[in-house]
């Protein structure tokens, strides 16, 4: 069962269709599957519903699918970094569903784990709870939120083996593991690819069962949104 594809275009080919739901990993520009997003642009599928914590920036991340007008709806927690997003939204060209970040993360985790709905305190008494079912447990009020699944999930990992086991690096992990579990088909771009057996099985973040396709994307450019530093104290 070969899961390795020669390039991002090949890895995304044959699994996309207009109107589908896509999950895209990453937080800001950290840990985003940039080359898989570019392949989706090149494959010209449209009317996508995209579930992603953010919407990229102008020219990077999901920003490039906004430019190409392939996204119909975003389900996100924060889209503040993207001017094109604002223009398309205000022009009525883009639908938007905001979720609290933790609720979004849990909805995706629930979807991957076969849980159609769960209760949370987050958002009770706010706009987020409007129209949703409220429940009382032990004297506190909770709102019911639904699990999310995707036709295709795209994720970025630091290391992957031929079985599809993945390891993420530092805060580039973020939404990638849950999204890998919640895609009917999950495609991973990995910086380093190794034979099965080279990753410590205790250290695997995403077991291979969740990953149907892998593509090796070495030496990718990683963008930094807010480069903050401190001065070196002279010795």
């Amino acid at each position: 069962m070969n899961k390795i594809f020669p390039d991002a275009h090949a890895a995304m080919a044959g699994i996309l269709k207009d109107g589908m739901t896509l999950m895209s990993g990453g937080f800001g520009l950290c840990g985003i599957p940039q080359l898989l997003i570019e392949a989706i642009r090149d494959l010209k599928v449209k009317d996508l519903t995209v579930i992603s914590n953010n919407a990229g920036v102008d020219g990077a991340g999901l920003g490039i699918l906004l430019e190409s007008r392939q996204i119909k709806k975003m389900i996100s927690s924060y889209v503040g970094e993207n001017k094109l997003f604002e223009r398309q939204f205000l022009a009525g060209e883009l639908e938007l569903e905001f979720n609290p970040q933790g609720t979004l993360a849990e909805r995706i985790r629930a979807g991957g784990a076969g849980i159609p709905a769960f209760l949370t305190k987050t958002g009770v008494g706010t706009l987020i709870a409007e129209g949703k079912e409220l429940r009382d447990f032990d004297g506190a009020v909770y709102v019911m939120e639904r699990g999310l699944v995707a036709d295709v999930s795209i994720v970025h990992a630091y290391k992957g083996d031929t079985e599809g086991n993945l390891i993420y690096r530092k805060t580039a992990r973020n939404f990638n593991p849950m999204m890998a579990s919640a895609g009917k088909i999950t495609v991973a771009q990995v910086e380093h690819i190794v034979p099965a057996g080279e990753i410590d099985p205790d250290a695997v973040h995403t077991p291979g069962i969740f990953v149907q396709r892998i593509v090796h994307t070495p030496n990718i450019a990683k963008l930094i949104e807010k480069r903050t530093t401190r001065p070196r104290i002279a010795a």
């Binding site: 937080f27 800001g28 520009l29 950290c30 840990g31 914590n53 996100s76 927690s77 924060y78 889209v79 503040g80 970094e81 604002e86 939204f89 205000l90 905001f98 609290p100 970040q101 933790g102 609720t103 993360a105 849990e106 995706i108 985790r109 949370t120 305190k121 987050t122 958002g123 009770v124 008494g125 706010t126 706009l127 987020i128 630091y158 993420y168 690096r169 530092k170 805060t171 580039a172 992990r173 973020n174 939404f175 990638n176 593991p177 849950m178 973040h205 990683k222 963008l223 930094i224 949104e225 807010k226 480069r227 903050t228 530093t229 401190r230 001065p231 070196r232």
Partner: protein, 220 residues
């Protein structure tokens, strides 16, 4: 003499305790990290998926894979662990974070909080704010007392809410208020910034508040 941003952060740092796990919001709350007392063990959480957040990196040592929830480059510590955003918000929602220090646009005398939608501007989204105020054990707000001369401590929020009855303490440039959010205890002025008078606070506050007994003495 109202408090500076640094003085507000320094005051907020007094809410820290040894062994606390703390989430700091963007803006003034971020400055609180500079005032953690020496020898006190405080681990900072970044809700994108990290515990044990270190300071900004030295120039040239930035790592694109290592950012905080404000998307700034940071560093790791000996205590650091990384996890998914689902695990991170499980930590938050499950009440494992001792303290969140957050900015705000409006706070009411019952502890309602609005801090995610700016009127007349494009809505950017609530990010993790709603999860933090709903889940963290104790929520401290640090904010300017007024915005363009208008009070931010109100009877009712005019902006869309982030949470209802969620704020425990408000630190402004003028004063510090505790809020008995769980009951009808309401809001109490417990501290004045250096040189600020009770009348000055009253003139700039719409919310009802009591004045703590010991503060009355001090302010007299």
């Amino acid at each position: 003499m109202a408090w500076t941003r640094d003085q507000m952060a320094e005051r907020a740092a007094k809410e820290l305790r040894d062994g606390f796990y703390v989430n700091l919001g963007i803006g003034i709350p971020t400055l609180v990290a500079n005032f953690i007392p020496a020898g006190m063990d405080v681990q900072l959480q970044s809700e994108n998926g990290m515990l044990g957040m270190g300071p900004f990196p030295f120039e040239g040592e930035e790592d694109a894979d290592l950012i905080n929830a404000g998307k700034q480059t940071i560093t790791e510590l000996a205590t650091t662990s990384y996890f998914s955003s689902a695990d991170s918000f499980g930590m938050i929602r499950g009440g494992h974070i001792d303290l969140a220090i957050l900015g705000a646009m409006e706070v009411t005398e019952r502890g309602d909080l609005a801090n995610w939608m700016i009127p007349g501007k494009m809505v950017k989204g609530m990010g993790g704010a709603m999860d933090l105020v709903a889940g963290v054990k104790r929520v401290v707000v640090v904010m300017e007392h007024t915005a363009k001369g208008q009070p931010k401590l109100l009877h009712h929020c005019t902006l869309p809410l982030t949470g209802t009855a969620v704020v425990d303490l408000v630190i402004t440039d003028l004063a510090v208020f505790s809020i008995d959010k769980g009951s009808s205890g309401g809001m109490t002025l417990i501290e004045l910034a250096d040189g600020v008078t009770l009348d000055e606070v009253k003139a700039n506050t719409e919310a009802n508040f009591k004045v703590a007994a010991d503060l009355k003495t001090k302010a007299a």
